[in-house]
């Protein structure tokens, strides 16, 4: 079966390759302006947003030039001020018959923009036009001038809804790639911060930026990222989520092997740890690789807070993670198999809550969990104003009424509620948890605690086999890297985190100088005085 799928995939790939050749076979830019116009009309047929402005110049206005752009995605003011105005003002004074000298004048003196490029191929010119630049064709020249007048318009920089923090920056990424690059550059003012732009997606021509700090990021990982991105062979990149699926090491695992964030300060932190970021035009979600398991229980706030609180919160998050995975399973195992370990009083409570429930605990748990997942999904999909109605239905009908009607025991409602709350504590793993929970539940129902144990071992084995860009997923726990444990479950204060995580294998490992802690600085000062 897989063989046939693979064959089909290969066929599709072959066809796709043909399409690609067509797209870039527009040929070189013709020397005659008439031919250029004809080509453009042909390529952009039925594209009513294309604007072609014809300007005559040279001796007796014999030389014609075309300014081509697409309405709406260029910055109108910039276009007028940098291109149209100067051309209309100065070009008539150039009394030359030579098209190349006009070209020289245009590119050197007249057009004011700092972003001017020269292209020779038609497909390049078309690329620039569709991505929002203005292209100037000159009669008699087989090259064109590209002026960068892209409109920066888009959403304002806002606080991201998906990742809120109590402390720390409120700036989140937006859909516009240059803005996002600025947001990072603003935080790391260093020429070592490299931003390499490439285009992906045969049809969408999406700009992708690979961002890393030279000297901190592992060269091998940077190379690997570029290689994997280069191998992506698709016609549409609409979101980093698509890139994520293409570049992940293990494409079938439930666990996230590529991190994503909307927060600028978080991303800056990741870059400074030596990770590589992938920004994609059109989405505020920025990818970071390598992504390790431990990152899912780290939060940006941790680093801005006292290490004690941060460590406590991390342990709490781990507890929540375990609870949201295992609680329903443990409950079912306890109620169905292991009556002997329940204290007498608790047993009475448990048995009382079970009385009159027509379903076995496993089915009951399954029903309640699925009901909860439905509610959650409905909450995401529905239009905002309906939210209130949904929460009422969820709370009253599913919670109260199901207990009153004797469909579910009140204890099960509590269990599912705790499970649900806990699953929201560790957002990166919500989806993995959602599915794994059922596996644990089934194992508990068939084999009790033993079954849970087997399932847990299986999941851990799977986690141990995972790699993110060559880095073991469970690092620093497996393989145990004592050096990196300082920023794991228990976090040492920020002034004691002198070195960067070793597991990422950077060249430059020291973060700060020993003794930058306040007291030690004071001590140093005192001893100098003495």
């Amino acid at each position: 079966m897989f063989g046939r799928i693979r064959e089909r995939y290969r066929e599709a790939k072959h066809k796709f390759a043909n399409v690609r050749v067509d797209a870039s076979s527009y040929g070189p830019i013709p020397g005659k302006i008439k031919a250029v116009q004809a080509r453009l009309d042909e390529i952009f047929s039925q594209c009513n947003d294309l604007v072609i402005k014809e300007i005559s110049c040279g001796k007796d206005g014999r030389i014609k030039i075309l300014v081509v752009h697409i309405e709406g995605i260029v910055d109108r003011r910039l276009l007028n001020q940098d291109v149209i105005h100067p051309i209309l003002d100065y070009l008539p004074s150039v009394q030359s018959e030579d098209s190349s000298s006009i070209y020289q004048q245009l590119s050197k003196c007249i057009v004011i923009s700092s972003d001017i490029k020269e292209v020779h191929e038609m497909w390049q010119a078309v690329n620039f036009i569709v991505s929002g630049d203005a292209v100037i064709f000159i009669d008699g020249e087989d090259r064109a001038l590209v002026v960068g007048v892209k409109s920066p318009e888009g959403r304002q920089v806002e606080e991201p809804d998906t990742e809120t923090s109590i402390r720390g920056s409120r700036e989140g990424f937006v859909e516009n790639l240059p803005t996002n690059m600025v947001l990072i550059r603003k935080r790391i003012k260093n020429p070592d911060l490299k931003m390499e732009i490439m285009q992906l997606g045969e049809r969408t021509k999406t700009d992708i930026c690979i961002c890393y700090i030279k000297g901190l990021a592992n060269e091998e990982i940077v190379r690997e990222v570029k290689e994997r991105l280069g191998k992506i062979n698709t016609d549409a990149i609409l979101d980093t989520g698509i890139i994520e699926q293409y570049i992940a090491d293990n494409r079938l695992t439930l666990f996230p092997l590529v991190g994503n964030s909307e927060k600028c300060d978080k991303l800056a932190g990741k870059l400074l740890e030596g990770r590589v970021a992938i920004i994609c035009d059109g989405t505020p979600y920025v990818l970071t690789v390598p992504y390790l398991f431990i990152e899912s229980i780290q939060a940006t706030d941790d680093y801005f807070d006292h290490a004690f609180f941060a460590s406590f919160m991390r342990l709490l998050r781990l507890l929540a993670l375990l609870t949201s995975n295992l609680l329903p399973a443990l409950y079912v195992a306890l109620v169905v198999f292991h009556h002997t370990v329940i204290p007498f009083k608790l047993m009475i409570t448990l048995a009382a809550s079970q009385q009159g429930i027509p379903f076995p605990p496993f089915i009951e748990a399954l029903l309640m969990i699925i009901a909860f997942e439905l509610l959650r999904e409905a909450g995401v999909r529905m239009p905002r104003p309906i939210g209130q109605a949904l929460s009422i239905v969820g709370a009253i009908v599913l919670g109260e009424a199901s207990v009153a009607a004797g469909i579910a025991s009140n204890l099960m409602v509590i269990i599912v509620a705790i499970t649900a709350v806990c699953s929201f504590v560790v957002p990166p793993l919500i989806r993995a948890t959602m599915l794994i929970r059922f596996v644990f539940l089934a194992a508990a129902n068939f084999l009790g605690f033993l079954g849970i144990m087997v399932a847990v071992v299986a999941v851990f084995t799977h986690l141990c086999t995972l790699r993110s860009f060559g880095i073991p997923y469970l690092a620093p726990f497996s393989p145990l890297t004592a050096h990196d444990l300082k920023d794991s479950l228990i976090m040492v204060p920020i002034w004691a985190m002198i070195t960067r995580p070793k597991i990422l294998r950077q060249q430059e490992n020291v973060r700060g100088v020993k003794g930058s802690k306040r007291q030690e600085v004071d001590k140093g000062r005192d001893s100098q005085k003495g």
Partner: protein
């Protein structure tokens, strides 16, 4: 070719890893609603020599009606029901009970195991075997012996204090054990002592004091697995003092023209045997007790050392008296070494023990005893000038 081989090996490995799961034992998946939660158990010998098993089963729905559940309105159902059944063996009686009750009996939740006087007199070794063998019975259940009442009667009382009578009974055992008038005996203690020649088993005593109340005080003394007799609460306390099992209690001491009550805070007791010429010559009991003055209504101020020394001495005497009573009863009446002198001999004079082992009951009951109690008063309470006694 090699790839195929590898795949085959992997499949085999996974299969082998799955098999042990099936070896792991009990496979019974049984929801809580399909078992009867046994709160208490009673065992008694009937007139015609059969064993009568009584179980008290908790009805969770009646105890916690908050969970609407099926919502059978009307009269409130009873929190427990009691069922009993006769059989040649314990196991048979228990299984036979399924003809009467609706769901399988779940025994590990049993809070108390009450053994009838008659059955105890005839010997408990035979019935204990079932409890030792069955995996479902908790070894940590409290064992008590019923005096002047059958377990059936005791389990059928309707207590006002706790909805589940067995829980109420267990509560009284805990209380009196803390006061030192009953020895809390777990099933596992009984198993241990039954097989031990150096110490005879004991168990708490329970009587029915009214229609709705029980009284757990005193001790049942066994000899060779059969009930030999009872110790009263004071003797029981004496036994616990000697055995280093006393957790607290109130000791009354007659002084001058009234009584003083002492609260035992800590007590350390030890038993040993003096051996002369390879033969046990004397039983030795040493107790160090620490107490607070709880009540001293008659004596006036407690501010001189002399008074305190005097009180300490009297307290020691009183404790010694209790121990003596217990020991004497065990020696003269029951000829049963519940103190564990035999264990001491076994440990420190194994050769000597080998000789006396088989006749220990007789030898024990004839040995003289040396009991020494060292009592200390730690605190005298908040009062310096008691009401009406101030000068």
């Amino acid at each position: 070719m090699t790839v195929k081989k590898d795949k085959g090996r992997k499949a085999l490995l996974i299969l082998l890893l799955i098999f042990p799961l099936l070896l792991a034992g009990c496979w019974n998946n049984r929801p809580l609603t399909e078992i009867n939660i046994v709160a208490g158990m009673g065992l008694e010998r009937t007139e015609d020599g059969k064993i009568l098993v009584t179980v008290q089963v908790a009805e969770p729905g009646a105890i916690q009606p908050a969970s609407a559940g099926g919502g059978s309105g009307g009269e409130k159902s009873k929190p427990v029901f009691v069922a009993s059944n006769e059989g040649e063996t314990v196991f048979e009686a228990l299984r036979g009970m399924l003809a009467v009750v609706d769901k399988k009996l779940f025994l590990s939740t049993a809070q108390v195991l009450i053994i009838g006087e008659k059955l105890a007199q005839e010997g408990i070794g035979e019935i204990l075997d079932f409890f030792e063998r069955d995996y479902e019975v908790s070894y940590l259940v409290d064992v008590i012996v019923a005096k002047d009442a059958t377990p059936d009667e005791l389990l059928r009382i309707e207590s006002d204090m706790d909805t589940i009578p067995a829980v109420y009974i267990k509560g009284t055992v805990e209380n009196t054990a803390a006061r030192g008038t009953v020895k809390k005996t777990l099933l596992i203690d009984l198993f241990k002592d039954m097989d031990c020649k150096g110490r005879q088993p004991t168990a708490g005593q329970i009587t029915k004091s009214s229609d709705k109340e029980v009284r757990t005080e005193g001790l049942a003394v066994f000899r060779d697995g059969k009930l030999a007799g009872w110790l009263n609460p004071y003797e029981t306390r004496g036994f616990l003092f000697a055995n280093n099992e006393l957790k607290g209690g109130i000791v009354n001491v007659p002084v001058d023209n009234g009584k003083a009550a002492f609260e035992i805070i800590r007590s350390k007791g030890s038993v040993s045997v003096e051996v002369e010429d390879g033969k046990p010559s004397m039983l030795i009991i040493r107790v160090n007790a620490e107490a607070n003055v709880g009540e001293y209504g008659s004596g006036g101020r407690l501010d001189s050392l002399e008074t305190l020394y005097m009180l300490e001495e009297k307290l020691g005497e009183e404790i010694g008296k209790e121990i003596e009573m217990a020991l004497e009863k065990c020696q003269k009446e029951f000829a049963s070494d519940i103190f564990g002198f035999g264990i001491y001999l076994h440990k420190y004079y194994p050769k000597c023990w080998k000789e006396v082992e088989n006749d220990w009951h007789n030898i024990f009951s004839k040995l003289p005893a040396d009991i020494r109690v060292d009592a200390k008063i730690m605190r005298v309470g908040l009062v310096i000038n008691p009401v009406g006694k101030g000068e």
